[in-house]
Amino acid sequence: MSALLEVANLKKYFPVRGGLLNRRLADFRAVDDVSFALQHGKTLGLVGESGSGKTTIGKCILRLLEPTAGSIRYAGADITHLKARDLRRLRSDIQMIYQAPAASLNGRMTVGQIIGEPLWIHESLKGNAARDRVLELMHVVGLKEEHYYRYPHEFSGGQQQRIGIARALAVQPRLLVLDEPTSALDVSVQAQILNLLQDLQDRFDLTYLFISHDLGVVRYMCDEVALLYLGKIVEVAATDVIFEQPKHPYTQALISAIPEPDPDMQREEIILTGDLTLATGGGCPFAPRCHAQKLEQCETLPPPLLTIEPRHAVACHLHVDG
């Protein structure tokens, strides 16, 4: 079975400008050589702390940002360099849902207009036909008919997120990029939205790229998880493998840092020192914070992402031999 989405050696560098004539002094490597594949109907979690490049990857896939290098293949076709006209067609297949529901909805449009806009743009649907579709979509995401003429500010965060989801579904996409869809919500509402997303996935045969920093949510939602650190994938495997047998020291530390609502839980707590900082040397980007045994090459050689078991890859010098 071929993958719906294949990302190969994706790089996105942002220029750091300064000095005389605002020259390009250096590159900030937001995404640095990232490859992964996402199977049809599955959910892949992209996990990392702020600044790890997870949102940048999502935006590159939608071509909201132009990748510096690498290729993105969607349903077998290379979409890395699509021109504007084809790009529009692509975007009815791939949609995005954003973190801040309030900021991603136009406050001067009614709910009906917000959800109807993509129908007009992509399918030239207007009038009663559009209205019927919008009402159907509102029903699907759990909004009521009387919400049609209301404005976003009249809704709570959870309902605003439902509006965002309905808007994304309007063009019948196959792949959804979900960028921290619940991190602005309270837990009881988060549970509602997560369940809604799972229902929609089953009902419309959707594929999800799920971007999050919350490992608990990722464990609940995803089939596979890729962990990012400073723009590189450090470990990727099936969800249960990541949580039961994490290999990379960073993965182990992140899992131990999940605040589980269980005061009796016995576990070794790994508390990392320092924070996300750019390593200056050529070694492993995680080396300055690593709590595991240090090898000589950790400081000098960047570890490659190696497959140690079928469908489990780790970028760590400690796991070179599998």
Binding site: E49, S50, S156, G157, G158, Q159, D186, V187, S188, V189, Q190, A191, Q192, L194, N195, Q198, H213, D214, L215, G216, V217, R219, Y220, F243, A253, L254, S256, A257, I258, P259, E260, P261, D262, P263, D264, M265, E269, I271, L272, T273, D275, L276, T277
Partner: protein, 341 residues
Amino acid sequence: MTHLLNIENLHLEFDTYDGLVKVLAGVDLSMRRGDVLGLVGETGCGKSMTALSVPRLIPMPPGRITAGRVQFNGEDILNKSESDMEAFRARHLGMIFQDPVTNLNPLFTIREQLVDAVLYQRAQGKKVPGRWRGFAPSARQLRKDAHERAVELMRLTGIPDGDRRIYDYPHQFSGGMRQRVLIAMALAGDPDLLIADEPTTALDVTIQAQILRLIRSLVSQLGLTVLLITHNLGVVARSCERVAVMYAGRVIEEAPVRELFRNPKHPYTRGLIAAVPQKEVTRGGLEGIPGMIPNLIDPPGGCRFHPRCQHTMAVCRQTVPTPVPVGEQHTTACYLYEAEG
């Protein structure tokens, strides 16, 4: 037994253009010295407002306390004059907030801000008028002492190279380090009570783990009393001894942390715990709480949770349930347990 902090039947209202918002409707909360109490609830349940009523930082108007008492060490706080209140805050309270960026002034170095905090605490109760303090003969010595204390506070809160980094500006620190600076500032006056309002919400999980460990170590080192406000049940489970759960302006359940998670009683507490994606929960197994937080301008009568509750009885709609004991040091305000109590 005397309590360090005792909040009784606190009612707080806000005047808004839409009407009178009944933010707190009879909050009861007490803390002993050395307690680490977690105050949990969702957005708008009044947890921050309860905490802010202790240092009296709620803007009035539009806010108005219509009933209730707040006692600290047996003293009634609500009747104090504003200048007494200033001295009271400096001597007894420390406070840290959610956002470490907006709470530091970007135009001043950490040294200026920390030394200021220390000097302010030390000047309390002295007769020298504030503006002349810097010119008093001993000012030089005072500043030197304050500087040393500031460096010591930075060491205490785990900021490496404190003696050098104290000359840095806030933007030169990362989010986690800024939160440490704020904790250092809050500790400047050796407070009796540290109020931490969502101290880790803006931080990454690995940094959150560092800050929680720091707070725990300060509790054991300095014997601090901590009121930790959070929406994250996991954070509570990790760092508190007791938990009070709030819903729509009332404390609906209170228990030691183990008891609360093992044996939650109130339907809202149960729903809240079930809504967290935990290890054992498989696809489709997560339960949310239906409906949403009530509008506090026109809150539901009786138990404010009844429109979302699965066990609603006639009495729930009519009268407000009072907390009843349901276990050792475990109380809940719910009519389901009335008979047992």
